[in-house]
């Protein structure tokens, strides 16, 4: 189909859907006027009921924790699919060590970059840990903190180069982090059932409001999510980097498409 025909088809489909979309948009509340009842109730009730200050964490890890568990496994499935597709082509024989591709020069890094990364890397990791631990009191949580932790490992790559990074970070550790985090989250749902409580019911003491240790089970779930996100995102980066090297089976794409 020619691009012009595709745009025409899109326009026709848009015209068909337009009345419905216009009706929905007209039915939306004016921007900034009111919030939905559900959100207003959560803001009113949850600080006392769950002893947490961060409502977003309370929704994600307590009120609608089952949804987040599903999301966690969606993340796990997407990363697993990525890894399987990329690693499957390279085969099992690929080594853990980084290899130099023949004919490709290694650009030397300036010492300022190395120093900056050595200083900023641990600090970034520390900040990521802070964000994870303060999930229930400040804007933060396992997802955000996990991404910051993963960027901390990427700073090691920037500073030390790929070979040094691969020496420090093993692929199967990342697998274990990713799967272990998801397992920890699933156990947070299953272990309360052993005590006769409902799935993912908060059986740990809720702690005091505005304290680091508040929210009970939410802290453990955040930790699981942070491990999974950190392992998963670092794993994605590793697999994409491995894809560029292709030392043993060089690929020449037949035709360059712009």
């Amino acid at each position: 189909m020619s691009p012009r025909a595709r745009v025409a088809l899109l326009a026709v489909a848009g015209l068909v859907l337009l009345p419905g979309a216009a009706a929905v948009i007209a039915g939306l509340p004016p921007f900034g006027s009111t919030i939905a009842q559900y959100g207003a109730r959560i803001n009113a009730i949850v600080p006392e009921a769950r002893h947490v200050a961060n409502m977003v964490s309370a929704i994600n890890f307590d009120l609608r924790g089952l949804d987040t568990l599903g999301e966690e496994f969606m993340l796990l499935a997407a990363i697993t699919g990525t890894v399987v597709l990329l690693r499957g082509r390279r085969g099992e024989g690929s080594s853990e060590r980084a290899m130099r591709r023949p004919g490709r020069a290694v650009i030397p890094r300036s010492e300022a970059v190395v120093l900056a990364c050595r200083v900023a890397g641990p600090l970034t990791a520390l900040f990521g840990l802070y964000v994870v631990l303060h999930a229930t009191v400040t804007p933060g949580g396992g997802f955000q903190g996990g991404v910051i932790l993963a960027s901390g490992t990427l700073l090691i790559y920037l500073g030390e180069g790929y070979a040094g990074w691969r020496d420090a970070i093993r692929s199967h550790w990342l697998d274990a982090l990713e799967g272990g985090g998801a397992l920890l989250f699933a156990l947070c749902g299953l272990v309360p059932m052993l005590t006769g409580a409902a799935f993912m019911q908060n059986i740990l003491p809720l702690g005091t409001f505005r304290d680091l240790f508040s929210g009970g089970l939410m802290l453990v779930e955040n930790l699981g999510v942070a491990l999974a996100v950190m392992g998963g995102f670092t794993q994605l980066f590793l697999e994409f980097m491995e894809e560029t090297r292709a030392a043993d089976a060089p690929e020449e794409p037949g035709e360059e498409s712009a």
Binding site: V7, I35, M55, L85, P139
Partner: protein
């Protein structure tokens, strides 16, 4: 507030979605297509955050402000968080599929890729004349 500010966030969301959809429909490159999908997705962030916003209220975190202070809708913020995380990993998965399509077909142009058949004709149809088996 005036009528313009009341409609503006929804207008921005609709514009982002529309322009992303146009990009997807006219795309001749898979990487461009994945990027356009990201633009479409950012429309959902704007829409959700616009739906949950309330003038003169704080983020739904009652640390500095006592509970009971007017706050925006926390449900929408939780949904956006979900959206971002799933979107990031899904983009990675789509880019991997792009790599696979490029390796099989030798092209990133969806027009040039033909359905793969058992006979291994796909490489020739794609114009590269290179047939590889997995």
């Amino acid at each position: 507030m005036s009528a313009v500010t009341s409609v503006l966030p929804y207008g921005v969301a609709a514009w982002l979605f529309g322009i992303g959809l146009y990009g997807i429909a006219t795309s001749r490159n898979f990487i461009h297509l994945v990027g356009c999908l990201g633009v479409c997705q950012s429309a959902t962030y704007v829409l959700l955050l616009g739906l949950g916003y309330r003038w003169g209220s704080i983020a739904p975190i009652f640390y500095d402000h006592p509970p009971g202070t007017p706050a925006v809708d926390p449900v929408m913020q939780a949904l956006v968080l979900t959206d971002i995380v799933v979107g990031a990993t899904l983009t990675a998965l789509l880019l991997v599929l792009t790599i696979q399509a490029y390796k099989r077909g030798g092209s990133l142009d969806p027009e040039k890729l033909r359905p793969m058949r058992a006979g291994g004709k796909s490489g020739r149809d794609a114009g590269s004349g290179r047939v590889r088996d997995a």
